[in-house]
């Protein structure tokens, strides 16, 4: 009841303001200001640079062989938990992070 009363009161006092040259004055002022430029989307460039760095590090640090070794020994994890070596753990974490980053980027790009 209280809300209805307040709402009715405010609605009954809702003004319709005439434009009174407000837009013209504003647009005239805008003519003297620096014009806007479309925002540059730098994400593909940043993603490209970091992907390149990641690939370079992967090759230089012998990531391929570590990845293969890690993956080939993954079946042992389910049999014996003690078989998890730091290599396997790091590989799994890095792969998971890479997938999360890739999916996030894909979703964001889709929404933009």
């Amino acid at each position: 009841m209280k809300e209805d009363n307040v709402k009715a009161f405010l609605n009954s006092h809702k003004e319709t303001l005439p434009e009174n040259g407000f837009n013209a004055r504003l647009f005239n002022t805008l003519n003297y200001l620096p014009q806007p430029f479309p925002a540059k989307n730098r994400s593909p460039l940043i993603v490209g640079i970091f992907t390149g760095i990641g690939c370079l590090l992967f090759v230089l640090l012998g990531g391929y062989s570590v990845l293969l070794n890690g993956l080939s020994t993954m079946d042992r994890i389910f049999i014996d938990v003690h078989a998890i070596t730091p290599d396997i753990l790091t590989t799994c974490i890095m792969l998971a992070l890479a997938f999360v980053a890739l999916i996030r980027f894909a979703v964001r790009s889709y929404h933009c």
Binding site: D4, L10, L26
Partner: protein, 165 residues
């Protein structure tokens, strides 16, 4: 967003924004239009920062609310007593203020945060989430301000005999 799209947004949003500011300034049309113009200019100069996470209207209202707070702070810094009386005097002089005196008197019972929440929710039909974005307050705080504001306006309406049912 280019200049043409911005001009279209100005045409769509100028009335609700000016009305909100005018009510926030309790009828001082000149001050409200100055703040609205400042808000539009700031929005134009920072168009590239509009990321589209909220609607353009919400983004614009947020800029305008910040401009209002800055103006109020600056005015209070220079003459803490005169500002309030200046706004009341200006509103008394205005014809529109006379027509809407009951509204301004009711809004006078509220502090700035309550007034903002009440005006955005009931008059500009913004959602709680949008008000939270505009005022940079958590949704629960907005709810609290809205509730207190409603209570104060309701009490005032009782006093002036505007109560229904």
């Amino acid at each position: 967003m280019n200049r043409k799209e911005f001009e279209l947004q100005v045409q769509i949003n100028q009335e609700p924004l000016r009305r909100f500011l005018r009510n926030l300034c309790r009828g001082d049309a000149a001050l409200a239009d100055d703040i609205a113009q400042e808000a539009f200019i700031k929005a134009f100069l920072h168009l590239e920062t509009f990321g589209g996470r909220s609607t353009f209207s919400t983004w614009l209202f947020r800029i305008a609310y910040n401009c209002f707070c800055d103006t109020k702070k600056a005015a209070e810094r220079y003459s803490p007593v005169e500002v309030e009386s200046l706004i009341v005097t200006a509103s008394e002089k205005s014809d529109q203020a006379f027509d809407h005196q009951a509204l301004y008197l009711a809004l006078d019972k509220l502090n700035t945060k309550e007034r903002t929440a009440i005006l955005l929710f009931y008059m500009e039909e913004k959602s709680l989430k949008e008000i939270a974005v505009i005022t940079r307050m958590p949704v629960n705080t907005v709810k609290a301000h809205l509730s207190r504001g409603r209570l104060h306006v309701s009490e005032h309406l009782k006093v002036i005999g505007h109560e229904r049912g």
